[in-house]
Symmetry: C2
Subunit: 284 residues, 2 copies
């Protein structure tokens, strides 16, 4: 499988490492975000780009007959994006795998499996402790914030607290900036602590985690308890899973299963290096 990686941020760089470790993948190109992509020649392109740019880049690649994998992460818009990309992928005999990070992504597969095992029950997805991309960006946009880090802290049962570290710009007081952050819609609904620090860079982290718990009934039998916990380096995990999904896209192309798919539509075997017999003997 001939792979290109588009994007050279945290995830793009980690994807280069993950692709190099896979003996069934040939990394044939790494492109910056603004490069001319009209000459790209590959089976699959990993789109390691900001979420809002994914639809445009995915369409462009699919129209060139190149399958795509992205980690588009706006949960409420994923189904519509899948619909948009579906016919383009089919028309150009390609496969697009959407939202292939960890949440949405691998966590989605866990939640679907949990609901199959325990159809009647409650699932709680608890994130962190770890850095929230969205909240960090929101905090940085507040006037007077020179740099920020917003940590997501699990508060139980799918609820989260926020701990925001900020560096102040000259001419602002901590109290006025703190009040502005707490008024922001990103922070207004959760318990939020704000702390001033000398250097955000010095405490920044790519560690993250999630705890998914489900309790309910299998058939008529209650108290079936399922629990998934992950403690990870975030870009490394995201990039690794995207590379595995590139493998799945390539296999689906080989079976002429063209179209756009989310991770819960993938068979786990397609994510893994090896042939059917080796994988079934190893994992079943």
């Amino acid at each position: 499988m001939r792979l290109v990686i588009i994007g050279t941020g945290n995830i793009g760089r980690a994807a280069v490492e993950a692709a190099k470790k896979a003996s069934d993948i040939e990394l044939v190109g790494v492109y910056h975000h603004n490069d001319d992509l009209s000459e790209v020649d590959a089976d699959v392109a990993l789109l390691c780009l900001p979420t809002r740019e994914i639809p445009t880049f995915a369409q462009k690649m699919l129209k060139m007959g190149i399958s795509t994998v992205d980690s588009f992460d706006i949960h409420g818009q994923i189904y519509d994006l899948r619909e948009d990309l579906m016919w383009i992928a089919k028309q150009h005999k390609a496969v697009s795998i959407l939202s292939a990070g960890w949440d949405p992504g691998s966590d989605s597969m866990v939640r679907a499996l949990f609901s199959a095992l325990v159809p009647n029950g409650d699932t709680y997805t608890n994130f962190g402790p770890g850095r929230s991309m969205g909240h960090t960006v929101a905090a940085k946009a507040i006037p007077g914030v020179k740099d920020a880090l917003s940590m997501t802290l699990p508060a139980g049962k799918g609820k989260h607290d926020r701990h925001v570290y900020i560096e102040l710009e000259d001419g602002y007081t901590f109290q006025e900036v703190k009040a502005a952050i707490l008024r922001d819609d990103y922070f207004a609904h959760d318990k939020t602590e704000i702390e001033q620090v000398e250097s955000v860079a010095a405490i920044n982290t790519t560690a993250h985690g999630v705890h998914i718990e489900r309790n309910g009934l299998s058939g008529v039998t209650p108290n079936q308890q399922l629990d998934f916990t992950m403690r990870i380096d975030n870009p490394a995990l995201t990039a690794q899973f995207m590379v595995c999904c590139a493998r799945a896209a390539y296999r689906m192309m080989g079976r002429e299963q063209y179209g756009a798919f989310t991770t819960i539509e993938l068979a786990p075997i397609d994510l893994l290096e090896g042939n059917d017999e080796e994988l079934i003997r190893a994992f079943i």
Copy 2:
């Protein structure tokens, strides 16, 4: 989907309950193990039968054009059984889903997903505490054992201890029966405690559990930690997952994906009640 259940033991009875709770499944028949099955008319048959009888019953149903789901649990023979059933299923336009319990079964999907997220690492599957079917049967076969219960106790890192409760038959001493159990190949390799009880029935349990842990590298980044824990009623969980796999078999028939498949070859979405849009919006 028109479902029949073959077998009326713990799992067959729990499967009846699980099937009744699914609004997309019509339970059209429940058969005892020795019934005449030549008139069975259904889309899918759940084979809730002893493992060694699965190959014969699966072939019989598939040749009638009825898809099958089983929980065949001899790990080392699953790939060969899949090969045997593959062409029969294809020839008769049916789907056979093998080894659809929890281990092999749903645990296999978890292990495959864990290896995709962390390709270079170690997975440990720790069972219990819970009743081991195989070890219980082995203990019951020892002369002088009137009834037995062999509990599997996790000893860490995929190793297990055994705690065997026995009722003695008249004319045998505890010491001689204990020695015979400890010589048996099922028990000779694990740390095993034997305890005499008045009544095995009084302490018997269907509770079980598993803890799957993996630690390793995503790309070149170490210390990626994944952890799955399940505490369940065993027959209820097994039966529920088999019913979900019957749904997957039916959907695959609809897409003309005929053949024999293990659980790591299934997409999680096919296990769940609902249409693509509902399920993607709910789980992604």
